[in-house]
Amino acid sequence: MTAALWHALVGAGLFSLSLYHLIVAQDLLRRIIAVNLLGTGLFVILVALGYRGPDAPPDPVPHALVLTGIVVAVSATGLALALARRVHASGGRSEDV
């Protein structure tokens, strides 16, 4: 098994676990973390896809995509955390979301 395949499998595992958690978790913070891990799993897959053999340099495109993806994920997480605070402050419960 190559390192790239191993990474891709770990990424897929992370993706599936987080998807499961996102659906079943009740707590808002847990769900925000789950959706973050979901993104991380996807990014691990993308990094692994850039592998082009032991002697070739990796494909830069998937890595550039990951960078953009991280920027998007960070902003979305920031917004999610801010909203979660508002939900709690206005008396909303995690289960209602």
């Binding site: 995509l65 953009t68 998007v72 999610a80 206005s90 209602d96 979301v97």
Partner: protein, 497 residues
């Protein structure tokens, strides 16, 4: 004319103007409404110019920074994209005009922890820039970024009303949107890993019906269905659209939902269709979900207690019609594709008009319970008329744009001998007529003991003009049906393949 100024690149302006405006409005909050409205007007003008240019027969194409595909990223606008851009610009202009007046009164005054009215403008401009970039993008990854911009701005607009329910709805909307975008991105990653391209046009000649591509198509369409609120993934939409501020609801329902449906159509007819990935079974499945959306959304609209919730559920149903193009047309653009494009355009104008009317109803009557609506003197006649006009198009009665769209869908379905889809379209129309007439019939009931209230000072001329904005939007939805041959002709530009 060789010494004349070169014509501006209208398409690029539709993306740059709102982004610049958003940054400016964010910094200069006191002037946010003026900056916001000026930028929106500029975008509306640019998108109409682009539409006229494309209607001349030549699809628009541009490589950003002069870098050609496959190295660079292409911007493209065929007839459909140009029509969607113009729709976004014009509906946006109408909603922005109304927001100039209502945003200040509708939102609670800025306190610690609530949004100030000016925050509407940067969010709206960001949304506008994201939507326009989405319609212009021909690159799968660029599309992912625009989807996220649209989502984040839409979540902000949902939360803007400051109601506790709006925060909860916005939170759910954010999680759903995040998940949907990541599913789409997974598909993009899989396709890139297998074929090494991101440009849709280039990928078209490379994709083959094999497991990787099938998996990619499945997750991409699943993500987009979630974002389009396709039944049964619609659960997040009614609370989000029903609890946002009216201007925000109008934008979310008329424009934001269209973006992801547009992307489904684009991928289906440009990428998955020509490569044999879009099978009959996949089309049938999406069509059945669409049918579910039509029936369930219309039924919920019939049962809704509040006007705003009725209008929100009607959006769920309307999204369903848009998905019928997939089973009806198969993989070639045909009658149903044209019908769906018309429906999408007419819905944007009619639905935004309706949501803006909800605002007027709420303002003047202090509630929006359907049972308690009457033809009271407090409600301007123009609002009642606008609701009726918008309803005509949403139900699909002649001579509206909604009628032409449904007519084309029905024609495609009758010609193809699809009894199931014909029945669904008919049943959905009957249900939505029931829902809309429940509201309209209230206006024929004068309330006998309506106390004559003290005469309010007559509104100024600007205020009266702004009251006419929803009417103008609804009138466009009707007009679209009268001049339907023109948009249908524009649709054919660049639709060959």
């Amino acid at each position: 004319m060789s010494d004349a100024l070169p014509a501006p690149d209208w398409a690029v302006l539709t993306v740059l103007l709102p982004l610049l405006g958003a940054a400016l409005a964010f910094v200069a909050e006191r002037q946010a409404d003026r900056i916001g409205f000026a930028a929106t007007t500029g975008v509306a003008l640019s998108s109409v110019m682009l539409l006229l240019q494309v209607a001349g027969g030549a699809p628009y194409q541009q490589s950003i920074g002069g870098w050609a595909v496959p190295l660079g990223i292409a911007l493209k606008a065929d007839g459909l994209a140009a029509l969607m851009l113009a729709m976004t610009g014009l509906v946006g202009l109408g909603v922005a005009a109304q927001a100039l007046r209502t945003m200040a009164s509708e939102l609670p005054p800025a306190r610690q922890g609530t949004a100030a009215p000016w925050a509407f403008w940067p969010l709206w401009l960001l949304l506008l820039g994201g939507l326009n970039a989405l319609y212009l993008s021909a690159d799968q990854f660029n599309l992912y970024v625009t989807l996220e911009i649209v989502s984040l701005a839409a979540v902000g607009l949902t939360a803007l009303s400051g109601k506790p329910e709006a925060f909860t709805a916005a939170m759910r909307y954010l999680l759903v949107g995040f998940l949907a975008s990541l599913l789409y991105l997974l598909g993009v990653a899989l396709l890139y890993a297998r074929y090494g391209v991101l440009d849709i046009g280039t990928a078209q000649s490379l994709l083959r019906p094999e497991p990787v591509a099938q998996l990619a198509m499945t997750v991409m369409l699943a993500g987009l269905a979630l974002k389009s609120a396709l039944f049964p993934l619609h659960f997040w939409l009614p609370p989000a659209h029903g609890n946002a501020a009216a201007s925000a609801s109008a934008l979310l329902s008329a424009l934001v939902v269209k973006a992801s449906v547009y992307l489904v159509l684009r991928l289906w007819f440009d990428l998955f269709g020509p490569t044999g990935l879009a099978t009959e079974a996949a089309g049938l499945l999406l069509g059945l979900l669409g049918a579910g959306a039509i029936l369930w959304g219309s039924l919920q609209a019939v049962l809704a207690e509040r006007l705003k919730l009725l209008v929100a559920y009607s959006t769920v149903a309307q999204v369903g019609y848009l998905f019928l193009a997939l089973p009806l047309d198969g993989t070639e653009r045909g009658l149903a594709w044209q019908g769906v494009a018309m429906l999408a355009l007419a819905h944007a104008f009619a639905k935004s008009a309706m949501f803006l009317c909800c605002q007027i109803v709420q303002d003047r009557l202090g509630h929006d319970r359907i049972r308690a609506l009457t033809s009271s003197a407090k409600l301007p006649r123009s609002t009642q008329l606008t609701l009726a006009l918008a309803a005509i198009s949403l139900i699909g009665l002649p001579p509206s744009g909604g009628f032409v769209g449904k007519w084309l869908l029905l024609q495609a379905s009758l010609e193809g001998g699809f009894t199931l889809w014909t029945a669904v379209i008919m049943a959905g129309t009957l249900l939505s007529a029931t829902a809309m007439f429940r509201v309209l019939v209230r206006f024929f009931a004068a309330q006998p003991d309506d106390p004559v209230e003290a005469e309010a000072p007559p509104p100024g001329i600007t205020a009266r003009l702004i009251d006419l904005v929803p009417f103008a939007l609804a009138a466009v939805a009707i007009l679209l049906g009268l001049v339907a041959t023109w948009p249908l002709m524009v649709l054919q530009v660049g639709a060959g393949g």
